[in-house]
């Protein structure tokens, strides 16, 4: 099937208006060598056939609705209020484009303005953009801002940063002569002693994730103080759900804050329903990449919204643009906006506290089991924690899977030095019953 409606009579009339006799005439300018004689693809499917084909494909996976997940590491399962899908599913949002014509796009523009406001509230910083692709590329863009605004060429990156974020950062910077140094670990946290030794006046930014990849909360304020008064930027990567209780990046002295927005009302989607959020201090607003919406007035003095500060962008400055971002993740950020709007400050704090409490409960129960112990002495973690085990990890994982549990992430996958260490995640989506069952199975392993 296709989605075209035209009959022969109409086609004839169109050809006559154009002055050709057939469709091929319109392609005559293409050299024969560049043409193709039919694609080697199957015949089109009806909608009914299409849906059943995808139902079969979807059935070949085991979804998080069929398992209880204790896995996070960058993508998290949280409960999504029904209103979120109701709004993002509205075709007036779904099928609109980047709001180039402001008067016909006030809906999208105002939701972005609301989103920017919510992000600044949460992160305690002055300005937010309209979203980016994902947390990892948002971080890479933040690093570029730090390089451009300080004129310095060195980055100090915590070893407790999500490994895929580090990989993306390296990819983004490979065209530029930038020195990237990693700050070693001290237990499960960034080593402040090593940071001090590595820091020098050529440092453009220090990049710290908190809670970090191991779930541990970092002392951002202390890190900022250690390196002052040198003119560097502190870039923090945060989990927004944790900000219901944790000190905001702004309060802690961050200059730029980025993170993954999936946790705010988006499903796990194999890591595909992402959006990167980015906020920064006022002084960096003109250096910030991506789209930004601003408030203004119309000719009748009424409030309205437009894309603004556009002279930073690629369609005006071409090779001098602050970034090449054009398409972003507006719809996923809209989910984030609807999600953040419904809790109120107390409810959001409760949600954050519930995550903390459930993971703490699981942690305390697991370390009681023989053969499982806390990997780090510092227990400042949010909803993820690392457990060291003497058990056979492969056997343990397959036993959990048999019981329809998606077990913890094996840290060895990314950190060879953390052999036999497991990264558990417990969000509000897990019940005490789920946790107790996990604990029972671990006991039997």
């Amino acid at each position: 099937m296709d989605y075209i409606s035209i009959n022969d009579q109409e086609k004839k009339e169109m050809f006559s208006s154009i002055g050709v006799s057939k469709a091929e005439d319109l392609f005559s300018v293409i050299p024969e060598k560049a043409k193709v004689k039919g694609l080697n693809l199957p015949k089109g499917l009806s909608e009914q056939e299409l849906v059943s084909k995808f139902e079969i494909l979807a059935g070949k996976n085991i979804s998080l609705k069929q398992m209880k997940s204790f896995r996070g590491a960058g993508i998290y399962e949280h409960f999504i209020p029904s209103l979120v899908d109701e709004i993002t599913g509205r075709s007036e949002f779904l099928t609109a484009y980047t709001p180039y014509q402001a008067e016909a796009s006030q809906g999208t523009l105002q939701t972005i303005f609301e989103y920017q406001s919510l992000i600044t509230q949460l992160t305690g910083l002055d300005v937010a953009n309209a979203s980016m692709y994902d947390g990892a590329s948002a971080l890479a863009e933040a690093a570029l801002v730090s390089i451009r605004s300080t004129g310095k060429k060195k980055l100090l990156v915590s070893s407790a940063l999500h490994p895929e974020y580090f990989q993306v950062l390296k990819t983004y910077l490979q065209g530029l002569a930038i020195d990237i140094k990693t700050i070693p670990l001290d237990g499960g946290n960034t080593s402040t002693k090593d940071l001090k030794n590595l820091f020098d006046p050529d440092t453009a930014s220090v990049i710290i994730q908190s809670p970090n990849f191991f779930g541990q909360i970092e002392d951002l304020e202390e890190i900022k103080k250690l390196c002052e008064p040198a003119g560097f930027l502190l870039i923090s990567v945060v989990n927004p759900i944790s900000l219901g209780i944790l000190k905001s990046p702004g309060e802690a002295g961050s200059d730029i804050c980025v993170g993954e927005g999936q946790v705010l009302g988006n499903p796990s989607g194999m890591g595909g329903f992402t959006f990167g959020f980015m906020s920064c201090k006022q002084s960096l607003a003109w250096k910030m990449p991506g789209r930004i919406v601003g408030q203004t007035t119309d000719t009748k003095g009424r409030r309205g919204f437009v894309l603004t500060l556009q002279s930073r962008e690629q369609h005006i400055r071409r090779e001098k643009a602050t970034s090449n971002i054009c398409t972003n993740s507006a719809l996923n950020a809209l989910a984030g906006c609807v999600y953040l709007s419904g809790w109120g400050p107390e409810g959001f704090k409760k949600l954050s506290t519930l995550n903390l409490s459930k993971s703490r409960y699981a942690f305390e129960e697991i370390i009681k089991i023989k053969g499982f112990s806390a990997a780090f002495s510092n227990h400042n973690f949010f909803n993820e924690f690392v457990i060291k085990t003497t058990k056979d990890v492969n056997k343990l994982q397959s036993k959990l899977l048999d019981e329809k549990i998606l077990g913890p992430l094996e840290l060895e996958k990314f950190f060879p030095e953390f052999k036999n260490c497991l990264l558990f995640c417990v969000t509000e989506a897990r019940t005490k019953k789920d946790i107790d069952k996990l604990v029972d199975i671990l006991k039997e392993c």
Binding site: M1, Y3, I6, E10, E13, G19, L26, P31, A34, L39, L41, P42, E47, L50, V51, I62, S63, I75, L83, S91, E92, T95, A96, E103, A104, Q106, G107, Q110, F113, L118, Q121, D134, A136, L144, V168, T171, D219, G244, K247, S268, G269, G271, G272, T274, Q295, T297, R302, L309, T327, N328, N332, S341, G342, W343, P345, G347, L354, R360, Q397, L401
Partner: protein, 478 residues
């Protein structure tokens, strides 16, 4: 005007609530160090669910979208978005997968990625794809890093990228981000490249030329094979900006034209909704000799089992976390399966017929710098309107009054007072006729009542907005 969330906030209201705790609740102040805790609560709004629903629903009605209005936005390919694609991408077995599940539990998802890659290779004439780039611009950036890695592997120092002025605005920005120097190339007055002029800028430090075919004037580069020969003779690479692929499905392939690297904007050609600005997807395809440089991981198949291949030592690395904008990839694959070989060819044929049909009517009224033939889109110049003090912007705003989203304006930069129209294949003849009549009516108004255009739009939720004030005194949040 719809109020702001902050303005409808009432102390103590809430839309969502957390379940009652079934584990002991821990006071953060007791188990975490005090210095780590938030002192000031975030100023989140307090609103009932019903009011929140109404707020966002009302906002949705202040939008023009494909589902409500014709959207002839040149270069953006706003075609009909089949709801079945949405439905499929939200199937629980696809929407609720964790990226770090074991491959055994992701076989269906990996099969989709594997098959989509194969289909894209067939459609474009390339040998391998990475589905990871999250947007066209990220695809460009990825493609250029591949070019860089390729020349590095050959120990050749090539620092320049040629970008014609008829190319997309993101091209030079992406090339700069990848660390290249940009050589701008002027196209002829009809937007076409002159191979002789390409040769003049082809020095031995040129890594690649980035071409948009059909170009931003909606015209096929008729001398593409001569350009290709010169570029390859110079040892440089051919980069294809696939944002305009909607003109060529099943008719021609960039691979057959000699392109080495390309990106495809899946959200355009393969009809996944644009979501008010994203998410999109910009997979990058390459010829075999560049396949090793693609981002990792790739999806492979071995004895009927799909797996993620991380063993790619020459890879440029990763440009995005996990495996790309998966739901967008699912929708694009659904669109390809629904269309099939014949359907895809019909898409491009009809897109080109529709664009030429509109051009045959409107080209009589306004100057069309690229002539009377086009591919899937065309550009007119509103320069003649300026005699009455009316600008293309005014024409665009007046179209909003008549219920049309405005075409792209002031792009490409090489056409004075440009207006760029892309009707796509999914509009009916009746819809095109109605649009053309309205357009002509507005051109008449421009002569008889220019003030009307300058004061438009009047039928939209707000009248013309003060963009200068917005930039001069930025208000970026409540």
């Amino acid at each position: 005007m719809e109020k702001l969330l902050k303005e409808i906030s009432v102390d103590g209201y809430k839309a969502y609530s957390v379940p009652e705790a079934d584990v002991p609740i821990k006071d953060p102040g007791k188990i975490l160090e005090d210095k780590l805790l938030r002192k000031k609560q975030p100023g989140l709004p307090e609103i009932s669910e019903a009011e929140l629903n109404r707020h966002f629903t009302r906002l949705s009605k202040e939008n023009y979208a494909l589902s409500t209005n014709f959207y002839p936005l040149g270069s953006c390919t706003m075609k009909y978005n089949p709801p079945v694609n949405e439905k499929i991408s939200k199937l629980s077995g696809l929407a609720n997968l964790h990226p770090y599940q074991s491959e055994d539990t992701l076989q269906g998802a990996l099969e989709i990625l594997f098959e989509l890659e194969k289909n894209l290779c067939e459609i474009t004439g390339m040998d391998a794809f990475s589905l990871q780039p999250a947007a066209g611009a990220q695809g460009e950036f990825t493609g250029l890093l591949i070019a860089r890695a390729y020349f590095n592997s050959k120990k050749e120092k090539r620092t320049k990228i040629i970008v014609p002025d008829s190319a997309h605005g993101t091209n030079p920005a992406s090339a700069a981000l990848a660390g290249f120097e940009i050589v701008s190339l002027k196209s002829e007055s009809n937007g076409i490249l002159n191979p002789a002029k390409v040769k003049e800028v082809l020095t031995n430090d040129v890594a690649a030329i980035m071409l948009t075919v059909p170009n931003t004037l909606g015209v096929f580069e008729k001398d593409i094979l001569a350009v290709e020969e010169a570029v390859h003779k110079n040892g440089s690479l051919m980069y294809y900006d696939g944002a305009n692929l909607n003109a060529l499905l099943g008719v021609s392939r960039p691979g057959n034209m000699g392109f080495d690297i390309l990106h495809v904007n899946l959200h355009k050609t393969f009809s996944t909704p644009h979501g008010g600005g994203g998410p999109g997807a910009g997979p990058v395809g390459v010829k075999k000799f560049l396949a090793d440089f693609l981002p990792y991981p790739s999806v492979k198949k071995s004895s009927e089992k799909y797996f993620l291949n991380y063993n790619m030592p020459k890879s440029i690395g990763r440009v995005r976390s996990f495996y790309g904008n998966f739901p967008v990839l699912v929708k694009a694959y659904a669109y390809i399966l629904a269309s099939g070989a014949e359907g895809l060819k019909r898409v491009s044929e009809q897109a080109v017929i529709n664009a030429n049909y509109l051009l045959s009517i409107l080209g009589k009224k306004l100057n069309s710098p690229a002539g009377n033939r086009c591919m899937h889109e065309f550009v007119l110049s509103g320069k003649d309107l300026t005699l009455n003090g009316v600008r293309t912007l005014d024409l665009a705003k007046r179209l909003l009054d008549y219920g049309y989203y405005a075409p792209t304006i002031y792009f490409p930069l090489i056409v004075e007072e440009a207006i760029m129209i892309e009707p796509t294949e999914t509009e009916t003849k009746a819809a095109l006729d109605e649009f053309a009549q309205t357009f002509i009516k507005i051109l008449e108004e421009a002569k008889t009542d220019p003030e009307k255009l300058k004061n438009s739009p009047q039928n939209t939720p707000v009248t013309r907005l003060n963009e200068v004030e917005a930039a001069r005194k930025p208000i970026l949040h409540w």
